[in-house]
């Protein structure tokens, strides 16, 4: 008998088709188990319907307005006429701005003619850099307070210095000591850094793939997140995501790394398999052996044995990286945590059928959200 448990909430919320509703009603009449479950879910729906709505406290807008007006809270993309509270019309303001710009332009021209200065920082796209400690260097400039990092330039920190890069209007990157980061490019479609060595921590609010970091062993695509990325002197990297998702990619391999998970890459081997940061030491060690030291089936068996439901993230990524008997082992392990949904077959998954993979991933991915 096919039970209707999965459809009971949708039935209560009138989300089923007429035919589906009829099927559920007929089934409930004759199935005690589903009828009991229906009563339970119906009770849950009744409680959920009691959740209150409330207006925000009266001073909320004033506090937002205050923060909008603070210089450091906002980016150049802030609507310019937010300052229309000033007692001049936009036309007057615009005229004044033009006059001022022309005047300043003349002054700058005169000053430069008499005191030549490097021009690239005013014409080449660049990001603002704040010194957080010591004396970081952006291009040829040592930064003691604020500076700029232009496209093509490196930001370098020694063992005593740290810096923060403002990435356009989408977030910030903190650069740790002993690091070397290049601004590869910046445009409306993509903002790209390259981490040659050292460590950075990114905090980005942006559409997926707008922010990218190259490393010697893989490329990290931001999918709206916070993460730490470290590259050692051999070009191997270590990613730890604390919020959102990051996609690590190299050649045909991708690792989708969610919050609470990590992923290693090796310059000579490529992208490793992601794993949650609270996986057992034995699990992590076996995975490292499998990914980078030809650990093979023995390492895989340890990974499977040590897996919890959250580690289906790792098992899922291993599916396309193994074949034959090893893939069957992975499939059986995944199915022990969550059976494939209706229409997804063992045979289909073993041949990596894209549609079946996607349908099962939607279900099994439920374990990958952090509590």
């Amino acid at each position: 008998m096919n039970h209707v448990s999965e459809k009971l909430s949708a039935y209560c919320n009138d989300e089923l088709t007429v035919e589906e509703r009829r099927d559920v009603e007929l089934h409930i009449e004759s199935c005690g188990r589903c009828r009991r479950e229906f009563e339970e879910i119906k009770l849950g729906v009744e409680f959920a319907q009691m959740l209150p709505q409330s207006d925000a406290p009266l001073d909320t807008w004033q506090q937002i307005e205050k923060r909008l007006g603070e210089k450091d809270s906002f980016t150049p993309s802030l609507p310019h006429s937010f300052f229309s509270v000033l007692p001049f019309s936009p036309a007057v303001l615009a005229t004044c701005a033009v006059v001022l710009a022309v005047g300043l332009g003349v002054l700058i021209f005169v000053l430069r003619r008499d005191n030549p200065q490097p021009e690239h920082k005013t014409t080449t796209p660049s990001f603002e850099v704040d010194c957080l400690a010591g004396a970081p260097k952006a291009g040829q400039e040592i930064i003691t307070s604020k500076g700029r990092l232009s496209v093509g330039e490196y930001l370098e920190t020694d063992d005593k210095s740290k810096a923060k890069i403002e990435v356009a209007n989408i977030g910030k990157v903190e650069v740790a000591p002993n690091s070397r980061v290049k601004l590869v490019g910046t445009s409306e479609k993509e903002h790209r850094l390259a981490l040659d060595e050292g460590k950075l921590e990114a905090d980005i609010t942006a559409p997926p793939r707008l922010f990218v970091v190259d490393t010697p062993s893989a490329v990290a695509f931001d999918l709206g997140c916070k993460y730490t990325l470290e590259v050692d002197k051999d070009g191997n990297s270590f990613l730890h995501v604390t919020f959102g998702w990051v996609l690590l990619q190299r050649d045909e391999y991708e690792s989708l790394v969610p919050a609470g998970a990590m992923c290693q890459t090796r310059k000579d081997k490529g992208v490793g398999t992601p794993y949650f940061d609270d996986a057992s030491d034995r699990f992590v060690e076996a995975l490292k052996k499998f990914d980078f030291e030809n650990g093979g089936t023995p390492a895989l068996k340890i990974v499977i044995k040590e897996s919890r439901e959250y580690d289906t993230l790792t098992l899922w990524h291993l599916l396309p990286r193994v074949s034959g008997k090893d893939r069957e082992l992975i499939f059986d392990a995944l199915a022990s945590f969550m059976k494939p949904p209706h229409g997804v077959t063992r045979e289909g998954i073993l041949r990596l059928d894209p549609e079946m993979m996607d349908r099962w991933r939607q279900e099994i991915g439920i374990f990958w959200f952090q509590d």
């Binding site: 879910i41 009770l43 849950g44 009691m50 959740l51 209150p52 925000a56 609507p79």
Partner: protein, 185 residues
């Protein structure tokens, strides 16, 4: 149709930088944003207010990206969801320090006796929902605080409708288990 046009006009005004329009946008959406946040945080008004401010600040930075009302609404909900999750992580990270320096009252779970003394059943429900894992809590809030359909919830959370149904199933059962004693004889 008239309302849709009015919304598009308001978005256009916000995109051109009209500060009054920004405030109107806030007035239009503050209740839904605050309600989701308040229920997410189990009635903690201070955290909900912080989260609400964060949502609108992020919104105003990105307002130029939207072309129509449906895109905007989906995106608004996504910002609310992500901001609530982010705020909760910060609380988990900084909770001990906040307690030490007295910045915020610690969220202490009430005893069963204290819960029974509460007058409003909705408070009980709010507390029970806040105890759910975020992956179960969020579909409940989007469905019952905002009245979104399963497809709309799926779009906001970027999951399938099937997954929405599955999570709501689990959420409803969890609520029934936690609160069922309030309905017994």
């Amino acid at each position: 149709m008239t309302e849709m046009k009015a919304t598009e006009d308001l978005l256009a005004a916000c995109q051109s930088g009209d500060s009054e329009a920004l405030q109107l946008l806030f007035e239009k959406h503050q209740r839904r944003v605050y309600s989701i946040a308040l229920n997410f945080f189990g009635g903690d008004g201070e955290t909900a207010k912080d989260a609400t401010q964060q949502v609108f600040l992020k919104l105003f930075v990105k307002i130029g990206q939207f072309r129509n009302d449906s895109e905007f609404t989906t995106w608004l909900y996504r910002i609310v969801v992500n901001t609530c999750i982010d705020e909760q992580r910060k609380q988990k990270r900084f909770f001990p320090l906040a307690e030490l320096i007295g910045m915020r009252e610690p969220r202490v779970k009430k005893t069963q006796e204290e819960k029974i003394e509460r007058r409003e059943l909705s408070d009980e429900v709010q507390s029970a929902v806040a105890d759910l894992k975020p992956k179960l809590r969020l579909p409940i809030l989007l469905k019952y605080v905002e009245g979104l359909s399963y497809d709309e919830i799926a779009n906001v959370l970027e999951i399938s409708s099937g997954t929405v149904a599955s999570r709501l199933n689990r959420g409803h059962k969890a609520l029934a288990k936690k609160l069922g004693h309030l309905r017994e004889g």
